[in-house]
């Protein structure tokens, strides 16, 4: 089953924007950190659904296992023990890390390979392996440090938001599995509404800074968090405070790209023009003869010394 270009909002490394004629529902996944018990059901469901198996690691004195995202581990619980200076209470902040499916995806912007990264109209940002060349540009493009390159097949991998499930009307595997309903899935609007209710509840329970994490810097995301301390996202295993695509990447993929093309083109053009107008730079018969004389003189001088 093929998709039509109308089904895409963005396609990497193409100089055209797909005709924006279809308007699917934008979907989103909402992760309510305050409801999360860190059971890792989402990790298990992800590995199982995507037929991935991670290698069996070791214990490093923490609950985080594996220790980081990998080409097989597309989502990961990150545990933070934090003593709240205000209440004096210990808080165990547990965040499900993984692709945020940005509205303005840095990975897609950085990708040099046509169609290796696509964004569907429903907002899902997907990697297309057969087009991926394994350059790792997406890693540099991502403000959340999510994509991982497999050393086995040199392709980039990350959460697909279960685009295969969503395409047949099912929720992502992690969202379906989540025992406490900390992960919910639906249209972006529905998720925003749901989040409001959660934030109100949390405020009523004394978390006065509770709020939604839907960072505008990347145009909002299709994976959002409800945080009890939305004023300090970095508490949650370094969730970026105000993520945006790196200026350097913007410059590299913006100005440099076009300026570079222009400059080189200009140089070529200049040469062409010069070649046509400038006087031929050729050796004249006269110079040939003068050369002979000069050679004789110098040769003679050479012999005297």
């Amino acid at each position: 089953m093929g998709l039509q270009s109308q089904d895409f909002a963005r396609i990497s490394a193409t100089t055209f924007r797909p005709p924006d004629v279809r308007h699917d529902f934008e979907v989103a996944k909402l992760i309510d950190v305050s409801k999360c018990i860190g059971c890792k059901a989402c990790q298990a469901a992800c590995l199982e659904w995507n037929n991935l198996r991670e290698e069996i690691g070791i214990n490093r004195g923490v609950y985080d296992n594996p220790h980081d995202l990998t080409e097989n581990t597309w989502t990961l619980m990150r545990f933070t023990e934090w003593e709240n200076p205000e209440s004096g209470n210990l808080e165990w902040l547990i965040r499900k890390d993984g692709c945020m499916h940005c509205a303005d995806p840095g990975c897609l912007k950085a990708c040099p390979s046509p169609g290796a990264i696509v964004q569907y109209n429903n907002g899902i940002v997907d990697f297309v392996s057969e087009n991926c060349i394994g350059c790792g540009y997406c890693v540099k493009g991502c403000p959340f440090n999510i994509p991982r390159i497999s050393q086995a097949d040199h392709k980039a991998y990350k959460c697909t938001l279960c685009s295969d499930r969503v395409s047949v009307g099912q929720a992502p595997a992690c969202a379906k599995a989540c025992p406490t309903g900390a992960i919910v899935f639906g249209t972006k609007q529905a998720m925003l509404d749901h989040a409001q209710g959660r934030v109100t509840d949390l405020k009523s329970r004394g978390f006065k800074n509770a709020g939604l994490y839907d960072p505008p810097g990347v145009g909002g995301t299709h994976v959002m968090y409800v945080l009890h301390h939305a004023d300090q996202p970095q508490l949650y295993a370094g969730l970026p405070n105000n993520p945006r695509i790196s200026q350097v990447v913007e410059l590299w993929k913006g100005l440099t790209k076009y300026a570079g093309m222009a400059v080189v083109g200009f140089a070529a053009a200049f040469a062409f023009v010069h070649a046509t107008i400038a006087r031929r730079n050729d050796v004249s018969r006269a110079e040939d003869r003068e050369a002979e004389h000069l050679i004789d003189e110098e040769a003679a001088r050479g012999r005297q010394t």
Binding site: A44, E48, V128, S167, A177, C178
Partner: protein, 199 residues
């Protein structure tokens, strides 16, 4: 149609209308593959669904097992995926990290597959047939029972007990298995009978 569209778009961008064919020859072809191949096919289409219950804790979540084959005579069923049963009142489709990984339990490399026997002092198991195993076990049981069965206690009261062989029952077998086990074990007069309720 799709093919045309993207190709035309690209050529415009490449600003090389004439060179088009050459370009194609050079192997350009990214965009339309993306369009054609983007989404991984849904893996559960046409698998056979079977309702079951998670065998771990006592929440007893409903699960759906997705199996290869359509139950036709020659299709050997094999479970390829397990997911929560959305109809189940308790788990409503959710599963914990154990339940979500049940598939690897069913297909675990360290599942027992053949009867094995280890003789006195031996360092390893060796495979034996079911008949050898069961005949031998029955013989060992009968000899022990005949030797140590207590029909009457010292006061001459009928007690009909057999104390020198014990039976630990499972924690995850079905009620039906449990009852058949109960019948067989109690009929022998076994009192050293226990289950995993405490641990």
């Amino acid at each position: 149609m799709l093919h045309e569209l993207s190709r035309r778009q690209f050529l415009k961008a490449a600003g090389a209308g004439v060179a088009g064919s050459a370009v194609a020859a050079l192997g350009f072809g990214g965009a339309e593959e993306a369009l054609a191949q983007a989404v991984r096919p849904f893996k559960l289409a046409r698998t056979t669904e079977t309702r079951n219950t998670c065998p771990y804790c006592s929440v007893a979540c409903g699960v759906i097992m997705y199996g290869l084959g359509d139950k036709s005579k020659n299709a050997h069923p094999a479970i390829i995926h397990i997911e929560g049963d959305p109809d189940h009142p308790t788990n409503r489709g959710t599963l914990c990290p154990k339940g979500a990984a049940l598939l690897d339990f069913v297909h675990s490399e360290t599942r027992t597959k053949v009867p094995q026997y280890r003789g006195p002092g031996e360092k390893a198991f060796r495979q034996i047939s079911w008949n050898e195993a069961l005949d031998r076990i029955a013989r060992l049981m009968k000899d022990d029972r005949d030797k140590n069965f207590v029909a009457k206690n010292q006061d001459g009261v009928t007690v009909n007990r057999w104390l020198t062989t014990g039976f630990l029952a499972a924690s995850a077998t079905t009620n039906e298995t449990a009852f058949l086990t109960y019948k067989v074990v109690r009929s022998l007069g076994v009192l050293a009978f226990d289950n995993q309720a405490r641990v």
